[in-house]
């Protein structure tokens, strides 16, 4: 029973990582850049949910929608102000800029919301499911996180395969130059990617803080890094890969903590990542791209 509970806890944590990882993987897949500020957009999203829900009294779903709009606006403006001018720059310059944006968001949140952590009221009101006489409990937050992350993966996959803008994203990810020649508006497509990624960040923020209800200006930092690992683990750029990577990282982290060592749990997560990358450098579902010389 203990093992089953731990497994469920792992899947719960993993599905939150998965939603965060989707944001990383979309932006990387299409814009070919690592948006390290993603974790902090999550934190801002969670604050907006907190303000709209707990402070302004909106119902949870409305609060999450407000946060999605706010994060979309934030994500698109970050892209316009910080990343777009660097479209032709080296990837290192963009990476450093992303880290800068990350610290900027953390500190701006510190100024606006203060340094005292707040207790986040869960947006989930689904009752917990009890199995085996209450020995295994699946909380409402857990089932919601799993269902929501599945819905997002399916919806995103369909969006990319079936819609015109989705196919434009695919084209931009394959070859920016060629896509532009074929009439795809590359800049608008990249903005759309950021918009979707940031809206997902708001959902991730609501899920993350519902499950772990302490919210401060660094709330998004560590989950952001773990989710980035998950995206790389699953094969960065691949949407189902982010889902699989997220769940696996969550399960490894919780099982490692439960059965090996609470202190080494993080080391185990990153150790597994190194092992996977040694044997499969593009991640589990990553495509092998042969570079033309």
């Amino acid at each position: 029973m203990g093992f089953l509970s731990n497994l469920i806890n792992g899947i719960s944590l993993g599905s939150i990582y998965a939603v965060i990882a989707l944001g990383y993987t979309m932006v990387y897949g299409i814009a070919k850049m690592l948006n390290f500020a993603h974790g902090d957009v999550i934190m801002i999203g969670a604050y907006v949910v907190y303000l709209a829900g707990s402070k302004a009294g909106l119902p949870p779903v409305a609060a999450v929608l407000v946060a999605m709009v706010a994060c979309t606006a934030l994500g698109v403006s970050i892209e316009k102000i910080a990343y777009k001018p660097l479209r032709q720059a080296t990837s290192l310059a963009v990476l450093i800029t992303a880290i800068g944006v990350s610290y900027f968001l953390q500190n701006i949140a510190l100024v606006i919301f203060g340094a005292n952590p707040v207790n986040f009221k869960s947006v989930v009101s689904i009752p917990a499911i009890k199995l085996f006489d209450g020995q295994v409990v699946i909380s409402g937050e857990t089932s919601t996180a799993i269902v929501v992350s599945l819905i997002i993966v399916i919806a995103l996959s369909l969006f990319i395969k079936k819609t015109k803008s989705g196919r434009a994203m695919l084209a931009v990810s394959e070859d920016k130059g060629a896509a532009q020649l074929m009439g795809v508006n590359v800049n608008r497509t990249i903005s759309l990617t950021f918009a979707i990624g940031s809206a997902l960040a708001a959902i991730a923020g609501a899920l993350l803080c519902s499950a772990y209800p302490i919210l401060s200006n660094t709330t998004g930092a560590m989950p952001g890094i773990k989710a980035f690992v998950a995206a790389v683990f699953g094969g960065i750029g691949s949407i189902p890969g982010a889902m699989i990577g997220g769940i696996l990282i969550g399960v490894i982290e919780i099982l490692g903590r439960a059965y090996i060592s609470t202190q080494l749990a993080d080391a185990i997560v990153f150790g597994v990542l190194i092992l996977v990358l040694m044997f499969k450098p593009t991640g589990i579902l990553g495509k092998k791209i042969s570079e033309k010389v």
Partner: protein, 391 residues
Amino acid sequence: MKKFIALLLATLMIAGCFAACGGEETPENKANEIVIGVQGPLTGSAAQYGIAVANAAKLAADEINAAGGINGTTLKVVTADDEADPGDKAVSAYNSLKDQGMQIFLGTVTTGSGLAVIDQTAADNMFQLTPSASGDDIIEAGDNCFQICFTDSNQGSRSAQYIAENNVATKVAVIYDSSDAYSTGIYNNFKAEAANRGIELVAEQSFTKDSKSDFSAQIQACKTAGAELVFLPIYYTEASLILGAAKAADYAPKFFGCDGLDGLLAIEGFDTSLAEGVMLLTPFAADATDDATQAFVSAYKAAYNNEIPNQFAADAYDGVKILAKLIEENNITADMTAAEICEILKAAICAEGFEFYGLTGAGAALTWDASGAVSKDPAAVIIENGAYKAL
């Protein structure tokens, strides 16, 4: 245009340098006042402690000054924020206090920050009276540092003693922060005393400062091991998450903590029903009926927005009163340097016959020995109906 902006920025930078130089004048202590420096987390995840200490210290100083001061000298409290950081932030907070003319150091509030500055306070020969940094090694570095709170070894062993003597539980689990000196210190002493007292430690779980949001695995381990009581020698922010994780896992053991749990009920937005029945060791309960406590609580509430003071506030209030008593008895004057004051006070506080009756001594006198430790017994309180109640 770009050149113009560059030039402008360069000019501003140079101007900034001059401004900084101008600010570095040594503050002259023109008024006849002794400056007490308070250092603690005024922001961050342990902010309630630092704010309580700063507030109570100012309250005590204001009361003393309003009554005419000490031998005509008034007290001035200056504060600096270390965010409970165990590194550079603690050192710069201490330095900023020295820049503000500190003559006596009432700090630090947390053990981690304390360990970062004790070598420096010893080297400066700065008299240090810490309200709440309870680590055993805080007072070991130099002979200039004294505690108002009981030490971690005391807290750890007293917790085990209390649990055993009152038959609270026999199967006990611990969740502690292995990256924090305070938490690990109490855990080690608890473990040693538990073995002596026949308490069975069925699960020993930990977390680190990088992974302190998900506690489901630790709670699951405690639940599987069948622990009747979970001992939490940690701070209140993480404790609130652990209580939530236990509820999510449908696990309802008793919870027992130390002074770090104080503040749990005051977290913004926290569902206090989660904390119902949580027991903790503290030298101070705001609902005690003695006159001194009642007077302090009502003065504190009147001064600070109707907030109920916690034990950190009480420790700090006692701290300033102890300093006032020492200043008065030893004729300390405002023109003495920090080192001169320290030489006198560190002998006086542990001298035969010096004792102090305050809020945190449970009616008994507080005395100090040369090691810096205070003689004091922690008492247990339980959280009932969202308030602390003495046991």
